[in-house]
Symmetry: C2
Subunit: 417 residues, 2 copies
């Protein structure tokens, strides 16, 4: 067996132990991790400095270097994140359904962890802390693979988190760090041990992962988000939202890439929307100029299309969107409901910026990613997306033959939970 | 575009319409389907007779012919099933989470259909009616592919259901019948249009589907279920349950394939359990005789292993089980809880037969299948397993820049729903 396979087997065994951990033990382990991060900050900052030096040597660009930095400010952010997780309800062991099947035969649907989760993420080292603390609280084992540029920082963070959590009573093997691409390729073959892969990164990277593993993958490939300005839009709101959705942070998946504008709006109004974007440095691409509507610029560029109606907008979105986040600007509540129900996307917004689609902003504390899949978790994925459930039946000698023969019949009394 | 691809595109468009259908319209369509099945029963029975004649000509065995039969009795069963579905709550449009992110910025998580579902099922024609009515009520478009032996019956049922439902207002293309294996191969490539595949059938068939499509697959490959007789078992209950779990219906996925017996039980007691199985015609396979513990007999055969402890039983199950259904027989509630929490399976039973793991017995009305996946739906999959959700945000001109700059802060007030 390869090293990774041995590790995966140990991690699977650990996951059975993780599934039955007491809430207090998990919260104490999170507390210990937060304290250890603070106590070992010099060790972590030194490691981060080595990564930063390498990055400068390798000629990495400014924004990438900025993302790589792990300083006092980032440290206090991740510790605040851990403390907010401690305050949240344990997502494991919640009864979601209770039905009395017959006298003395009770059925419960109870939440439980998914098992072993492999997460591949970009170069922000704070992501490692967020992801591992979400997995800890939800009782999952985890394999982490961060960006190559952040390897020294990730190794330091991993060893601090691992030591503190195991000291606090977590099973050996619950947390694992992968260091190379070959390790990732190996992990993708281990469907016997690993229950879920969450890849974060570029469209082509996520597609590659999806096409090269039998393990279920949760995430999103691209974010082609739309903002539709309806005939009943308030023009001030429309301008503010379109500008925010496009320019507040251009290189992210929930930024708007296409603005759909209702043709019946006054020409002056249409002009003002376009001008507001141009004033913020956005290059405008009109219909004649566009060969592919399903296009994610991740830059100061926007596609603009004039549509006939809300139905025209919905059809365009359902055809060219990526199912991530779609917004409508309108004062007509009926049109809004129609749009929000018929558009097929993980988040739909009325009179708000697509940029709100994010685990922190949704109040989930943090997120492991955004899912555009319609199975399991959809949209920003926090604690609840990291759990599954099992059915528990409590009987007293009950056999199926009695029901098959008609001697007994089911009562199926559904209880409030 | 191939015919199937054209159909899939139409079906996808229909799914957007299905997603916003009124509950009354769906319930009326179900009523119309039930009435049409009754009104056209001679047409359906004639088609079924052609299938039965062919089956006899081709030398199909008795049990298979019996499963193929669609008569007055089966008809009244499926009509009763449809009527019970009409009585159930609409699973679409339910608010599952409501958080006030800030004054005037409301977040809802609302259930919605999955979209287009492809279901491949065995030769029972009643399955076609159950599956299509579950999809109708949950607002999903569906591609159906039944067993080759039942083709005539399936064509008749499909045309009756299709005509009655479209007459009642459902969009053209919501229901589709595939007739050949080539059609299925084509469907597996249409990940652009089809959101979920549910394969029912043999282990090798389900594995084949899972390995040959990029579309998410929900279901289970095999059912290696265990019943563990604990040291604190009531011997009468143990004998009844073990016999029922093994012999009540041997060819199904929730039948017990391995009995684990605690070594510390009295030898006489151990002997009685084995004898009870032998008395019901079961061939016993002890440890010496077994090369592979992960084995699904689907026949009057059982593997028996004597284990040291409940932990030994749990480890065996987590290593060799298929995550389907596992039972413990004990009067010790603490041991039971430990087993039920630590065993990794979709259903876990205390003092009850593994054969109870079934959508009808769980009170779900019917099932589209049993899922051993830990993502999305797990265990018997009824209406709730056929829905996803979307996040809806209602704002009033809200932009992210205000929160990024610190001008505003999130309130994140979670509301009871």
């Amino acid at each position: 067996m390869s090293d990774i396979k041995v590790q995966a087997n140990v991690s699977k065994q650990a996951s059975f132990q993780m599934a039955i951990l007491d809430t207090n033990l998990k919260d104490n382990a999170l507390k210990a991790v937060a304290e250890a991060l603070e106590a070992n900050k010099d060790y972590i900052f030194e490691a981060n400095n080595r990564d930063l030096d390498n990055a400068v040597k390798e000629g990495l660009e400014g924004p990438l270097v900025k993302r790589l930095k792990f300083d006092e400010h980032k440290l206090s952010d991740v510790i605040e994140g851990i403390n907010s997780l401690i305050g949240l309800d344990d997502p494991v062991g919640k009864v979601k359904l209770h039905t009395t099947l017959d006298d003395g035969l009770e059925l419960y649907r109870v939440t439980c962890p998914i098992g072993v989760i492999g997460i591949i993420f970009e170069s922000r080292p704070d992501a490692l802390v967020q992801i591992s603390s979400l997995c800890l609280k939800s009782g999952n084992s985890v394999f982490l693979k961060g960006g190559r540029e952040a390897l020294e920082t990730n190794k330091a963070l991993y060893s601090v988190i691992r030591n503190a959590s195991i000291e606090a009573g977590l099973p050996d093997g619950w947390i694992n760090l992968l260091e190379t691409r070959d390790d990732v390729s190996e992990m993708l073959t281990l469907n016997e041990y690993i229950d879920l892969i969450i890849p974060r990164g570029s469209n082509s990277f996520v597609q590659y992962i999806m096409n090269n593993t039998l393990i279920p993958v949760m995430g999103h490939a691209d974010g082609v988000c739309h903002t539709y300005v309806d005939v009943d839009a308030d023009i001030e709101k429309a301008m503010d939202i379109v500008v925010d959705a496009k320019t507040q942070y251009v290189s992210v998946c929930n930024a708007t890439e296409t603005v759909l504008i209702n043709k019946s709006l006054d020409n002056l109004v249409k002009g003002e929307i376009v001008k507001a974007l141009e004033d913020h440095g956005v290059r405008i691409h009109f219909e004649d100029d566009i060969t592919e509507w399903h296009h994610e610029y991740l830059d100061y560029d926007v596609s603009i299309k004039f549509v006939e109606s809300v139905d025209d907008a919905i059809n365009h979105i359902n055809k060219y969107g990526s199912g991530h986040t779609e917004a409508i600007i309108t004062e007509n509540r009926e049109t809004a409901e129609y749009f929000m129900n018929k558009v097929d996307a993980s988040s739909v917004m009325l009179n708000a910026s697509t940029r709100f689609a994010d685990g922190f902003r949704y109040g989930f504390g943090a997120e492991v990613g955004v899912s555009t899949s319609k199975l399991h978790a959809r949209g920003p994925v926090g604690l609840e997306g990291l759990i599954s459930y099992k059915y528990k039946i409590y009987g007293n000698g009950n056999i199926v033959a009695d029901y098959a023969s008609g001697k007994k019949t089911f009562k199926h009394i559904r209880r409030e939970v």
